[in-house]
């Protein structure tokens, strides 16, 4: 962990050295198994999902966004002002025609499935129309991404910085996030945790290789499902009960809020007997911060504060 942080700081420093760095266009890069060419800094961008929108806003690119869709929740306070006047194309994934109607030159999708034929449109089709498409690297399915680390998250920030020729802003953001992350002291109490994302009959939980694993690792929590090589899985309540975690991480979303999860855990005859439920040891994270993006580091900082406030005097 510490090595990763130091590496992150070094990378940030490296990126910050050529202060007047500028992107040479056309820029070609491989994104999620597809070569894309960006002829000039994109001027008309459509962002699908909160992670994409928040990345662009964090780099000061609000004026490039011509439309957003499928937002998972409200913007964080730090970005609310910048994103106040964005045009919402659709609450769900906007259709291809709606997106093309905005005449975009760049589409940024938080999930690869946003580029399905019945969603925004297939990537090769968009490419033929001269529109570059970009899938958040951690959400790529065509090519299995490496286990997510904060360097991976910072890599996405740097890549977007290069695409939009805002390297300095990207480097500054990475430097600030590295510093914030470096100030977090991982919990040393040897606690175990289950990342409860959604689901009632079978819990959908964070597994070993995506944002949940990365965040729990940074907090010093041992992920009960960390050995499963996947981002999230439909787990089974017996496996959760058997592990009897010290802490539950509850993902707070509009469709399955943290309050609903607390109620379910407290009322179920089995989960109500878990130590974390008896002693109400919960950490809460807003859904948009629970997928790879610019809100991961602030979430770690916030959850480290929540974790510090929890008492473990009675058990384990």
């Amino acid at each position: 962990m510490r090595a990763a942080i130091i590496l992150g700081i070094c990378l940030a420093a490296l990126a910050a050295v050529p202060a007047e760095a500028a992107t040479t266009y056309p820029l070609t890069l491989n994104n999620c198994g597809m070569d894309i060419t960006v002829p000039k800094s994109p001027a008309r961008v459509v962002a699908i999902k909160s992670t994409a929108t928040e990345m662009l806003l964090s780099l000061g690119l609000a004026d490039r966004i011509v439309g957003i869709g499928f937002q998972d929740g409200p913007l964080p306070d730090t970005l609310a002002a910048a994103g106040r006047d964005l045009k919402v194309l659709a609450d769900k994934v906007p259709s291809s025609e709606v997106v093309l109607g905005t005449e975009p030159d760049f589409i940024y999708g938080g999930w690869e499935s946003n580029f399905a034929g019945d969603a925004v449109g297939e990537r090769p089709m968009l490419s033929r129309l001269g529109i570059a498409s970009y899938v958040a690297p951690a959400a790529c399915r065509t090519v299995k991404p490496p286990k997510l680390s904060f360097d991976g998250v910072f890599g996405e920030i740097a890549e977007i910085g290069a695409i939009f020729d805002v390297e300095n802003e990207a480097a500054a953001l990475v430097a600030a996030q590295s510093a914030a992350l470096g100030a977090v002291v991982p919990d040393a109490r040897g606690l175990t945790a289950v990342w409860y994302s959604s689901g009632t009959k079978a819990p959908y939980v964070g597994a070993g290789n995506n944002a949940p694993a990365m965040i729990m690792d940074a907090l010093g929590l041992a992920n009960v499902f960390g050995s499963v090589d996947d981002g999230w899985i439909s787990a089974n309540w017996e496996a959760v009960a058997d592990a009897n975690p010290d802490v539950f991480v509850l993902v707070d979303s509009a469709w399955n809020s943290a309050a609903q999860k607390k109620k379910l855990l407290a009322e179920n005859p089995v989960t109500s007997r878990l130590d974390a439920v008896i002693h109400t040891r919960y950490l809460v994270i807003p859904f948009p911060a629970s997928e790879a993006g610019v809100r991961n580091v602030p979430a770690v900082v916030d959850m480290a504060r929540q974790l510090k406030a929890l008492s473990f005097d009675t058990a384990p």
Binding site: T200, K201, A202, A235, N236, A239, A241, D242, W255
Partner: protein, 337 residues
Amino acid sequence: MSWPARTIAYLALWALLLASVTIAVTLGPAGISAGDAWGTIFHHLGLRADPPLSPLRDAIVWELRLPRVVAALGVGAGLALAGTVMQVMTRNPLADPYLLGLSSGAALGAVIFLLMGAALLMPLGAFLGSLGALALALLVAALLGGATPSRAILAGICIAALASAATSLLIFWSATGDSYREILNWLLGSLSGTVWSDAALVVVALIVCAPVILLSGRGLDAFAFGEASAASLGIDVARLRWTLLAATALLTGVMVAVGGAIGFVGLVVPHAVRLAVGSRHRVLLPASMLVGAIFMLWSDTVARSLFDPRELPVGIVTALVGAPAFLLILLRYRRIT
């Protein structure tokens, strides 16, 4: 089948059922020994004074595994029984318990309740939905000029198509984030999250409906030759048909409400059992129930423990096993006829 052979077959099936239950409650992601698992059950049945396990592990056996085992047995028996009845009443080998739009109606009801934020009341929604679909199908059939089996099937197909379209539309319209995942799992058929009240619902439905069907064995034998032949044998065809239809619908509605539309059990088990014991319903019906229960119990045990710590919807297991089994049965039939 002669009576000694029949008795031996019944005894063998009951023994297999008991052995299956004995083993199934000891299997699961949590490492609990067979002795402790049974000690816990004996404790709750009042046969043992102190619990062998901590309250949490006690709950794993008594609140997670056992209700699921009971529900799986009941759902398997119920679906196999309902499938047998539907096949003979419609004289259609492709019939299954979901024929009259029951499962599609149930899915619609469940999705409506889920999207209203009442995930825990999904069984009630499913039950109301299946009854609604059945009532509509029979009403349409009656409007077509009397509810004969073929009209009921056609009406059922219409209602099923309408209900599925409405379900898809609702999911498309209102599923946010990843809430569709829960719906998809349920649509595939799943017993995960089964609690004692679900298991009790299944058992009560069986106690109410199964005797009605089991006691109609002779009538069903006559039905196999067509309604006219049945009538000529002195059977009140209309009354028997409505009684059986009502019992089957109630049974199926409850099974779908608890487990979703678990496929292939109600289709394959009756065929397999018929191949083994013949088509006399006094033997076929109870044997189908036993085989359905055993098949379902093992499917669910695989679904909940083989991919530890993941959970697989049991409908995938029943289809994976059921589809090839159905093919084998078809090949056997071909050789016989």
